[in-house]
Amino acid sequence: MSTGAPAGTATTPPDVTDGDRTDQDGAAPAALPPVTDGGVGRAVLLLLVRRALQAVGVVVAVTTACFAIMHTLPGDAAYRIAAGRYGYDFVTAASAEAVRAELGLDRPPWQQLVGWWGDAARLQLGTSLVTGADVRHEVLHGLGHTLQLAGLALLLASVLGIAAGAAAAHRPGGAVDRLVGTWVVLARSLPPFVVGLLLVVLLAVQAGLLPVAGSGTPAHAVLPALTLAVGLSGLVARVTRDAVVHVRSSEYVRFAQTRGLGAGAVLRRHVLRNVGTTLVAYLGVQALVLVEGVIVVESVFAWPGIGHTLVHGVFWRDVPVIQGTAIALALAVVAVNTVVDVATLLLDPRPRETAVVA
């Protein structure tokens, strides 16, 4: 999977901060007319409606694709499900046939798909073919655990990455910058599996600070989240560094400095907000890339998240669980994109649609 924007390509946005400050200074280098609060509100509403429609389309497309893929895979689903239910000592032709009859797996696939759509429209995701558990419950349980992990990982990665990136940007090419550069390469080139085991050996086995694996207490989340955060923090640091360097060398920052604003005021009013638009979009992409890492990390740390649910679902040919998981992940993508769009709109309220400008 892509690791996001390659270093050095972070674009310098025109200053967004002056858009709504023209009344104070009367000098906006990026001269676009200001929009009123009503304009921003309308833009957000429009965006949410569009995203909601998109969510419905994504759910239908993704679940249908899942269903089609699972049905074209080689192998007999009844046997797979029986192996999942009874284990390898007890999966036999007889137990597979019993499963087939019980679940109606010999019905034509289109009947199964239409039946599933009908249930899904009533928000019924069905029950797992293997465990008999309610899919909605299993997916929400897994998603909750994964969101905890991803949230904590993003937070840790942002704090570590933004701090390191800002420090590196202070003196481009300096010792700190080179040190951070090395960190970026290391953090990104080590697979999460290795980072996880290294952290376990250091923090759990040697230092005895944290539990090795499992779930149940807040402490159990720290090591897996830190494992994910280490990988992410490298690129967050890199993007932050480049964005800060670009913004700081931009005309509007120099103008602000010339105007006599203190370093702190320049940072708060001009640098942070402009870097923010780049970073928010970038973190949004990374939140989605996290899902990839989550599956490996959940396995290493025995974390009962959605990656765990998905892996079992695929291994057992448990179609309702796969579809439920796919819906959750697809909606998560739409939700993250929506949050990123809204955040960017609020950070950079200048109008995008020519109709509004005109």
Partner: protein, 528 residues
């Protein structure tokens, strides 16, 4: 730049409370607080690979008998001998068609209700109607009875019924365990521990039950944690996160030999890693070819390299721990590749292109199916592939889902399959052998192979033969298997677990029916 100290402070502020709450985690750290009684004030933590997907006894893989929450009619001791469970005694009628089990009068479910014949009948009837369970293979017509007397009627004599009644799928649960549709919604058993919490798929917490009519367990609280990866489990043992770590694979175990405060427990399981062959295959149907395959295998080398124990190299199908079935008089299976080559040559196979043997224009090429659920199977499969290539048999290894073996058997497309078979799924291997060696073949047994003498001998045993007659029948079975090799034994199996020195008195059950936690105690090291 001002941002740096601020950000660093934020990082520290974030990490410090995390570490602080970490040290208060309910792991099995060595710094446990001692309660007034001298035992540590924390649960015993067991880490294993089994996941908790379902509480239904017919699919839960025996987790709740291992945790001693639920009981079966008959139990087993560490030798695999049948001992009283919920039933204190059992006997068959004159015609062998009716069995009577007397229940322990004081047995009570965790919800306070009495264990009675109805509860037993519900449990056994459910298990009997679920395909694939050992209880489903027994010729049971009806389970009934009244009060503390359970009556099982059979359609034909079946001497192994008590052994089948020890199967974990027949665990007896209270009526309140079942939902309106008859499915199991919670586990209310009658054992020394009762369920406090089940968090699917990862953990189960149990505590000593005050309804238990036997000796109260010394260790009152137990937490089972499912950890799928064996390296993570090994690290849990080393870090002290777990007191008992199950399913330690040989490689992880070898790396832990030097760890302080840990003891390794091992037990030989009645499990054999074996090759199943299609008896209808033109090449594999020839006993000479099967013998050649067996001779080509360097079992000791594979056992040393992969299982880290040369003693696990199988010299016959039954491991020495199966004392009744392991036959010291059998000529052991040996390794002799030259002999294998000459046997194949005598059978008409001559070297063709690329070193692969040919006969009548047909190359000696077979597929070998196996699965990764047991970590040693794929490396053993590649070792077998190399060994057979050395004598001119080309093997394509397919590692997939375990169910592909019975599926390929049913479709008739199976050549070779490598798997590990527990020949004592119930405490009496005969029950498994009657299925696996059936003349019509079996998913996890013979394929397109039968032997009239062996079938007759198994029939004699099933009818309840004893003494010399039974010994002669078993000898007939073991010698036929050794000569004909419808299943080629590769290795025996040893189960290992790691125990912290905080716990005393743990022993491994060769049948994996129970972890025997109620018999364990906290050691002086735990209290100190």
């Amino acid at each position: 730049m001002r941002a740096r100290p601020a950000a660093l402070a934020a990082t520290t502020a974030l990490l410090v409370p995390l570490s602080a709450c970490a040290s208060g985690a309910d792991g099995a750290g060595g710094d446990a607080v001692a309660s007034p009684g001298g035992a540590p004030d924390r649960p015993l933590v067991v880490a294993g690979s089994y996941e908790v997907h379902n509480v239904d006894p017919t699919t839960a893989g025996g987790l709740f008998t291992r945790l001693e929450v639920a009981e079966t009619l008959v139990a087993t001791d560490l030798d695999g001998t049948l001992v009283p469970g919920l039933a204190t005694s059992w006997e068959a009628s004159e015609d062998q068609l009716t069995w009577t089990f007397s229940l322990r009068e004081t047995a009570t479910f965790h919800d306070g209700t009495d264990v009675d014949a109805d509860a037993v009948a519900t449990a056994l009837t459910r298990a009997h109607s679920t395909e694939g369970t050992p209880i489903a293979t027994a010729p049971i017509a009806d389970v009934g009875g009244e009060g503390d007397t359970v009556t099982v009627t059979l359609t034909e004599p079946f001497a192994s019924l008590p052994a089948v009644a020890a199967d974990t799928t027949g665990q007896v649960l209270a009526p309140a365990s079942y939902g309106a549709d008859g499915s199991v919604t919670q586990v209310i058993g009658s054992g020394p521990y009762e369920v406090v919490e089940v968090v699917a798929p990862s953990s189960v917490v149990v505590t000593a039950a005050d309804t238990w009519d036997g000796d109260a367990p010394a260790i009152t609280d137990v937490r089972y944690q499912s950890v799928g990866r064996s390296e993570a489990r090994a690290l849990m043992a080393t870090s002290g996160d777990a007191d008992l770590v199950l399913g330690m694979d040989p490689t992880a175990l070898a790396g832990m030999a030097t760890a302080d405060g840990l003891t390794t427990l091992s037990v030989t399981l009645p499990r054999t890693v074996l090759l199943k062959l299609d008896g209808a295959d033109p090449a594999l149907g020839d006993p000479a070819v099967r013998t050649a395959i067996s001779l080509a295998l360097d079992r000791e080398g594979m056992a040393t390299a992969i299982l880290k124990d040369p003693e696990l190299a199988a010299t016959q199908l039954f491991a020495p721990s199966l004392t009744e079935w392991h036959d010291e008089d059998l000529e052991p299976l040996t390794y002799d590749q030259d002999e294998a080559r000459s046997l194949l040559a005598a059978a008409g196979w001559t070297p063709g292109s690329g070193g692969t043997l040919e006969k009548d224009g047909q190359r000696l090429t077979v597929t070998l199916r196996t699965f990764p659920d047991r970590a040693e199977l794929p490396p053993l499969a590649t070792a077998i592939q190399a060994a057979l290539a050395a004598v001119g048999i080309e093997v394509e290894v397919l590692v997939g889902n375990s169910s592909e073996i019975p599926a390929a058997h049913a479709a008739g497309t199976l050549d070779l399959a490598l798997y590990s078979r527990n020949v004592a799924l119930v405490p009496d291997p005969l029950v498994t052998l009657l299925t696996d060696l059936a003349p019509e073949g079996a998913d996890w047994g013979v394929m397109n192979w039968q032997d009239a003498g062996l079938t007759a001998a198994l029939g004699t045993l099933a009818d309840g033969a004893t003494g010399d007659e039974a010994a002669a029948a078993r000898a007939e079975v073991t010698s036929t298997l050794q000569e004909q090799l419808p299943l080629i034994p590769v290795a025996w199996y040893r189960q290992s677990a790691v125990v912290s020195d905080a716990v005393d008195g743990l022993e491994l059950d060769p049948l994996e029916r129970s972890w025997r936690l109620s018999a364990a105690t906290w050691s002086a090291a735990a209290a100190g």
